[in-house]
Symmetry: C2
């Protein structure tokens, strides 16, 4: 089986450009003992991958130039030389950005494609959903009746988080760029949505939409959003920070929040986290998610691009806000 894949031509800072990506092709070997061969059906593209393109090691190392990149993928087993895996099984792995792979079966996890559509395991039922869940449950410790400001509400983590927060009994004000996205946020349950591209004063708009202030802020954006949040939060407000997409393409340090001193005056807490340090919540997450989905409170949402050759375009679309819900690539 032949497999096309995407690799980097160079490490880079600044805006993502098409020429940084190239398509290659490889013949997949037959699986050896303990290995499987998988044809990927869905690929995940995520903002955190931007960090691996800079060549700098943060909490995860950089992508290797010229080698297939890595990322979430779901697909079906084509050939198996591993116990417990049969042809046709649906599996999830980190062997994304490619059409197929041959490798150790232990790098794959079987998923139940009858319970949920397979691509949901890349989104609401996968790391994306778990990221939203950890932020709300553990970092913010969101209480029934509290008001949450969800930034990037139409994004993958944001749209999961809006639905989870509503299911937890909170009031949700979402922010997003454009009327269509705001409509989407309200459609999935947000009590109000603020179009940050249209309002002259983000802080004022969120405060009004929230009816005064908010107890919690879910940080996906950074920059002016964080600065506004420090003003909008009530005393003892909590911020969960799992990403700041507005900052990932910066070539030089950007101004920080000029009102950081609010942290002292209002006894605020800002806490960053990385989902992989919270895998102990996986069991609780799946239990709550199943109940919420069963009750019709939470749905999976995706924006779909088609074909391996369009994976870079899907990835670049994350930074110009072209997705509602999880951005995925259908092969």
């Amino acid at each position: 089986m032949k497999s096309r894949h995407i690799s980097l031509t160079k490490h880079f800072t600044g805006p993502v450009k098409p020429e940084y990506f190239q398509t290659g092709e490889a013949d997949l070997p037959a699986p050896k003992d303990g290995e499987i061969q998988v044809r990927n059906e869905w690929l995940s593209v995520d903002p955190y991958m931007r960090g691996r393109m800079t060549g700098i090691t943060t909490y995860i190392g950089p992508f290797e130039i010229g080698a297939p990149m890595e990322g979430g993928a779901v697909g079906r087993v084509v050939k198996s030389s591993a116990e417990g895996f049969s042809e046709g099984d649906w599996v999830m792995s980190m062997n994304g950005w490619r059409e197929g792979w041959t490798g150790p079966a232990k790098a794959a996890q079987k998923i139940d494609a009858d319970l949920l559509p397979p691509q949901a395991y890349l989104g609401i039922a996968g790391l994306t959903g778990l990221t939203a869940y950890v932020g709300l449950k553990r970092i913010i410790d969101l209480k029934e009746g509290e008001t949450l400001w969800m930034s990037a509400g139409a994004g993958a983590v944001g749209s999961a988080g809006i639905q989870f927060a509503k299911a937890m009994g909170a009031k949700v004000v979402a922010s997003a760029g454009g009327q269509d996205k705001c409509d989407f946020c309200e459609e999935i349950g947000a009590d109000a949505a603020v179009d940050y591209k249209a309002v002259p004063d983000l802080k004022k708009a969120v405060k009004e939409a929230a009816g005064g202030g908010v107890e919690a802020y879910f940080e996906n954006v950074g920059g002016d959003h964080l600065e506004a949040a420090l003003d909008v939060l009530k005393p003892f407000g909590r911020i969960a920070a799992c990403g700041m997409i507005a900052r990932y393409n910066d070539e030089a340090p950007a101004p920080g929040p000029r009102n950081i001193i609010q942290v002292v005056g209002k006894s605020l807490k800002i806490e960053g986290y990385i989902v992989s340090n919270h895998f102990d919540m996986q069991r609780d997450f799946i239990r709550d998610l199943s109940a919420w989905m069963g009750a019709g409170k939470v749905k999976s949402r995706e924006t779909v691009h088609e074909g391996i050759e369009n994976a870079p375009k899907a990835f670049m679309g994350l930074f110009s806000g072209q997705n509602t819900g999880k951005m995925v690539v259908k092969l």
Copy 2:
């Protein structure tokens, strides 16, 4: 009894100037039933008071123009019409910035001047010490063997915090402005001290002094210190923020930390607090403090100005770093 007092001539932003203060005098009435008359012996001046001079209500209201300001004070009862208070008793109150007062006895708290020098109750055994204790014990949750960066290490909270952290078994790197203050930090127990006015790169200097990085940062300063701390902290680092004195005299918003995104990448926690929300720790604090002082691990340190007329000068000195230890006024 006549009592001189200090009041504000106006509310203001920007640098503190002598002309914003005026001295008045009042005849103190004889105490009515339930009241006492007190001659203050020691006054406290503290950075948080700067906020009350802006005319804006934050977690505490502004000072009233023309009226005696408020602040910590210890003194002795001159006349008593209240049960449980006798002439000569030492008491602590918030009726500072004045030589004496007549008022309800319930506004005063008796202190044991045999156990500790009376002015210590304005510093290491008072709110200053409790502020350091809460930050280390509850906000940072400092563990034995961890390394703490204490900013403004020669200040009131800082010098208490250095001694407490050492007593708790941590390693301490202090920062302060000038060689004398750095010497003071080391004299009271800091393992190393960095003169932020002398080093070309604060981040690099603290990192070297700490032998790599730190687990916790105690924020008293803000500005470039906070920015450096976000870089120096190790993953899962914790910041307790009880003040940012470098920012209190700002007339316009100052640039925030340009590297705030480190909060995400390193799973950092920044938490602001106000000591008055943590009075439930008072009992633990006094228990630990008594043990530490008894073992000679912690000492009270003050910078003293004399006379009510010099209280504004003492206060202004806080912002140009003229104190080592707690700044107090002896009457």
